[in-house]
């Protein structure tokens, strides 16, 4: 198993290198002269020149690329055109934002997986009954709902009408909280975006789980387990679900790409200052170095997640281990 993991890790690294190179050149071929973007409508020539030099744009392209790669290896992602959170160092800003996104997405995924699992199992068991049809249709509806519409619905319902949750942000503005109170404040702000994404993703997992479970429940070993005198609940948890996790792991890995994209929408809608919102901001201002850094981090995160899923397969499915 160790050899397999090592091989996968090696290929992951190779992929990252390609992503890095592609990332660099992609932004250089964007429309508009980069100099113009930096200078924008500055009135003073001196300011314009200063900004252009700061970004090192007067050097030839290949030299810029070489410097870029070299810097990356030492962890220097360069300076952004604008400043965010009080800093214009790309790495600092991104690292500051990552925890918010990771925590939010992790909780949302967890919620989606558990809820989807439960619904999927219920559907598979009560197949062809009204409950199954109802839950399946519900899941399809949820899965196809646009994020922004659902987010506004949640905000309208929970914030404007019921006054339970805040309309956005990470902490309550202007107040100082410490310790437990701070964590609670954070959670209070996180719940709505988490539910938004979680409920939408839940639809996807419920549908997958349902069809996976339907297939599994027709397998012979389920019959064997039944013949051994185990209850339905026991069979579900010890025989069916462990097998269902194999295709589920694939779906989760695939969803990670969708989630990273959806995170931009989600974070913007809830003013949740994470990586997604940073990307949206940087995009609006055509801040290429920042975007480069963000895209790189996203790509690495995706590759890492896929790698971890691969490793996870080895634990879920013993047939792959050799």
């Amino acid at each position: 198993m160790g050899k397999r993991i090592l091989k996968k890790f090696f290929f992951s690294c190779v992929t990252i290198v390609f992503v890095v190179a592609f990332n660099f050149f992609l932004f250089r071929i964007m429309p508009g002269d980069v100099e113009t973007i930096i200078a924008r409508a500055t009135t003073t020539e001196a300011v314009k020149q200063r900004l252009i030099e700061k970004a090192g744009l007067h050097r030839p392209l290949l030299e810029q690329f070489w410097i870029y790669m070299k810097d990356l290896l030492t962890g220097d992602f360069g300076e952004a055109f604008n400043s965010y959170d009080g800093s214009s160092n790309v790495l600092t800003v991104i690292m500051g934002r990552i925890p918010n996104t990771v925590i939010l997405l992790f909780c949302a995924e967890l919620f989606a997986i558990i809820a989807g699992l439960i619904i999927g199992v219920i559907c598979a068991q009560k197949r062809t009954t009204k409950l199954d049809t109802g839950l399946l249709s519900g899941s399809l509806v949820l899965y196809s709902m646009p994020t922004f519409w659902f987010a506004m619905l949640l905000i309208f319902l929970f914030c404007a009408t019921l006054h339970i949750f805040p309309t956005g942000g990470i902490f309550t503005p202007g107040r100082h909280y410490y310790g437990m109170a701070k964590i609670l404040d954070y959670l209070k702000h996180m719940i709505l975006p988490m539910l938004c994404m979680g409920i939408l993703m839940m639809g996807c997992y419920a549908i997958t789980m349902r069809s996976t479970m339907i297939n599994i429940l027709t397998e012979d070993y389920i019959n064997t387990a039944k013949a051994k005198g185990f209850s339905t609940r026991y069979i579900l948890f010890h025989h069916a679900i462990p097998n269902a996790m194999i295709p589920m792991a694939t779906i989760i890995a695939l969803n990670l790409a969708a989630i990273l994209g959806g995170a931009i929408q989600l974070e913007t809608l809830f003013s949740w200052q994470g990586l997604g919102q940073l990307m949206y901001d940087a995009l609006n201002r055509r801040d290429y170095p920042m975007l480069q850094g963000c895209f790189f981090i996203s790509a690495v995160a995706m590759i890492l997640a896929n790698f971890l899923t691969d490793v996870l397969y080895g634990f879920i499915d013993p047939r792959i281990r050799e």
């Binding site: 064997t224 039944k226 051994k228 005198g229 462990p242 879920i316 013993p318």
Partner: protein
Amino acid sequence: MKLLEVKDLRTYFKTTKGYVKAVDGVTFSLDHGECLGLVGESGCGKTTTALSITRLLPKGGEVMGGKIFLEGTDYATLTEKEIEDHRWEDVSIIFQGAMNAFNPVKKVGWQIAEAIIRHKGATKQEAWKRAGELFELVGIPAERVTQYPHEFSGGMKQRAMIAMALACDPKLIIGDEPTTALDVMIQAQILELLEELRKKLNMGMILITHDLSILGETCDKIAVMYAGKIVEMGTVDHIFNHPVHPYTKSLIACFPNIESEERKIPEGIPGYPPNLIDPPEGCRFCPRCGLAEGRCSSEEPEFLEIEPGHFAACHFAGKEGGTDV
């Protein structure tokens, strides 16, 4: 007391078109240590009969009537929860095609141990130790209990299945075509093993198959089923050497005789089994029977003992003659 007494068992499947009468009035009995072979075409109801004992029926199947006495307890009247306790502990099953009968993501030893833990209240350690002993009993090295199903060959898997079936010292083992998917060499080994264990542990066994050659070697009694009913039942000698029912005779004749001088491929039985939702009145074999008369299509023949231990359901049973197939 007999080990198993089945009286007038009816198991129907509910479909949108009506009830499929898969098992329609089956009666037989089994003693401790006795082996009964259930034989017949696909769809004749032999598997359903056996599975009805512990109510392991697929969706839509229900035991509609009859009695199933296992050592005096009528299983037909038990609740689902009660029967779960009896499963595997009193009656275990060796499934057809062990390929998929094992859960691919769980160790084989675990799958044996879980039954022991559930029914015998053993600890994990005790259960796994017992699993190792069972492996030895069926001829697999005990260390292999920690392996996964995909690491076993076909024959080994079947042995493992037998080990699993023995886990809780059942009184009755049902073998549902246990050797159909195996090659002949291994088939022989498995059957030998089953015989050995059966004698040693004094277990009753119901062997379901459509391979007559196996029956001759392992069974004490044979029941021939057709269209949800037993058409003839008797000892191996009765069935092979003095078959009475036309269906039985045709069935036996379908098997090529290695000792015959002609190299002739025998004819099959023309026609198809009847529709079990709406079975025909009278004898169910009538449409395909060479001896059929007027009575056959209107009056259902009774299941009668024509000689000690030899039962048949045919209007011509006991008479001379028969087909010359």
